[in-house]
Amino acid sequence: MQLRTPMRVRTRIPPRAPIPPVATQSSDTMPPVATQSSAAMQASDTMPPGVATQPTLTRRGLLASSVAAGAIALLSTPHIARAQAKTLIVTCYGGAYEKLFREQLIPTFEKETGATVRLVLGLAKDNIPLLRAAGIDNPPLDVCMTNEVIAEILRTEGYFTALPEDKVTNLKDVAPIARYPGDMAVTGMLQPVGIAYRTDTVSDPVTSWKGLFERPDLKGQIGMYNITNSLGFMFVLMMARIYGGSETAYDAAFKQIQTLKPFSQVDFSGTMEIQLTRGEVDVAPLDFAAVMRLQRQGVPVDAKVPSEGMVAFDQVFNVTKGSKSKDLAFAWVDYFLRPETQQKLVNGFFISPTNLKTVIPPELATSPIMITGDRLQRVVRHDWATANRQRDKIVEQWNRLMT
């Protein structure tokens, strides 16, 4: 089941002659293999002591056993290397996240546990093909930080394991909205999204999602996301909810959004930030973290918490079922939920911490768009399992109606 897409691909591709010679060439010249020593150690570990000194040893036998040892080493090196070095492999986004992880989060964790943390860098979407290719029993990573829209797919396919409360002790301090049935995951941080606006051109800001459709004065000035953007998708789900629909009934939402046409669509929230900065749009859904960042850069923007509730980008932490370093993986999740760690993320990215004990710096605590504590409960959680199964239909409908 989980191999559906790759399988289809594989059948289309003819067997390739060039691969084997390339493989040997490459491994000969690649410097970072660095597994020879551990491989050799493993080989000697698995052999009974004294084998090498037995008089019956023949040259052919030695040759055969060294080839076998080499083969064992080649096939199983990653695990051996990991087990011996006590390595934890976790996912992380590139750029600023990687910088914060490497400079502020990882050193403390490594010092406390003696483990080495390695990062699989990239976007959340990249983890789906990676985990599926590797299979449930042999995951290439231990902790997967990703958006719930993606985590839900992998969890349903059985890639993740539950978080035990005695090993992830900070779970008890996490906001209810960040918890999951059976503790199959935990939301480590949230980036709530509200209605951002330019303070210089909009004197009467929109305070509800419905308000977007009741303001003729703003027509053509409201920024929208393409449906392929996860915020664009969440926006449709939220409007469906507001106008009496659900994850399976979204016609009313489309009807409302159509009334805003014509509008320009952006693919990235980064592009939306630019449009707001330049004044190309005056009002747009945007995450509060971005609004606070823009405010610090002197852009005249602010945002309102919509009365119907907020949607949010979430970072959900999942431990892989086949992880060979589960305890370390639980320790990493626990470390991430620790108030001190969460505070570093608040300072770095203005995110909403999910641990209710996190101390918010005073200059941020007073901001009405710093969503913490009880206000986190105003973040709407979608039924991603249902929504994901409707995704193709919603995308198709959006493309038909909105372009």
Binding site: R16, A17, P18, V22, S26, T29, S76, V120, L121, P140
Partner: protein, 270 residues
């Protein structure tokens, strides 16, 4: 080019020059925009820039993630170039000189990675690596992917070059007493140098910019520059992205200029 004499020829010439100029403007304009945007003193990736500054280059040179990605990209591209040049050249020599049957099949197999969509190659390799136990923990898988995708460029360049070579030259050397190795290294290799160098240059540039393969096959702790840049743009939209792009263009340009300086690129004539 022949000078135009009649009126229709002059018109045709003017249209041709205009078209070529427009094509160049169209191709070069984005590069100019990126370079200028990287010199923007303002906080946002925009064009035209608001004042000039090198601050985003300073950001780049102080960013460990970007510097690491640049180092990974360079290393992978250099190794890919060396390996594909060796394999591609040998395959081209075999193909042009020694194949008697299955010639077209061999050619198709050699250039197949170029014909297949890159992302399909990447997914196939990803699955294959996990089936054979190689996985993506190290850079080996990524490196193989890069060699696979860049090799056809070397193969095609060297094949084209060898096609123009008279086999009689090497045969003459052999009949005058040169060993096969000497005849190859002193006669054929210098004559086909142009194809090898062009192929190697292509291999480097393609590998340095490769996206889909790197996206799916990246190793743990490592990511190439195009992927790091793409990730960066998801979260930030400042001119660092333009500075990184400019650095990337500079690397490519340096390779082309060095190749031209030391080996000389063949002038393409119509």
């Amino acid at each position: 080019m022949r000078t135009a004499t009649t009126a229709p020829e002059r018109v045709g010439h003017a249209v041709f020059v205009t078209f070529v100029t427009l094509a160049y403007v169209f191709l070069m304009a984005p590069i100019v925009v990126v370079v200028l945007a990287s010199l923007n003193a303002g906080n946002y990736l925009k064009f035209p820039p608001e004042g000039l500054s090198l601050r985003w280059y300073a950001t780049f040179f102080h960013s460990a993630p970007f510097l690491n990605a640049m180092a990974v990209s360079l290393r992978v591209a250099v190794i890919a170039t060396i390996l594909s040049t060796i394999i591609g050249t040998l395959a081209a020599v075999y193909y042009t000189r020694f194949t008697t049957w299955g010639r077209q099949t061999l050619r198709m197999v050699m250039i197949a990675p170029m014909l297949l969509p890159e992302v399909l190659t990447a997914i196939a390799l990803l699955l294959y690596y996990y089936v054979i136990g190689l996985g993506t923990q190290t850079l080996i898988g990524l490196q193989i992917g890069h060699v696979l995708v860049t090799m056809p460029y070397v193969f095609l360049n060297v094949t084209a070059n060898l096609g123009n070579l008279d086999p009689a030259l090497e045969e003459a050397a052999r009949s005058l007493g040169a060993s096969p190795a000497a005849a190859f290294s002193r006669i054929s290799l210098p004559l086909m140098k142009q194809g090898v160098v062009n192929g190697a240059m292509f291999a480097f540039i393609i590998s340095f910019d490769l996206f889909s393969i790197s996206l799916l096959l990246k190793g743990v702790d490592t990511v190439t520059l195009p992927i790091q840049l793409f990730d960066y743009l998801q979260w930030n939209f400042d001119p660092t992205a333009a500075a990184v792009s400019t650095m990337s263009i500079l690397v490519t340009l340096t390779v082309v200029l060095l190749t031209d300086r030391f080996v000389g690129l063949r002038t393409v004539r119509f």
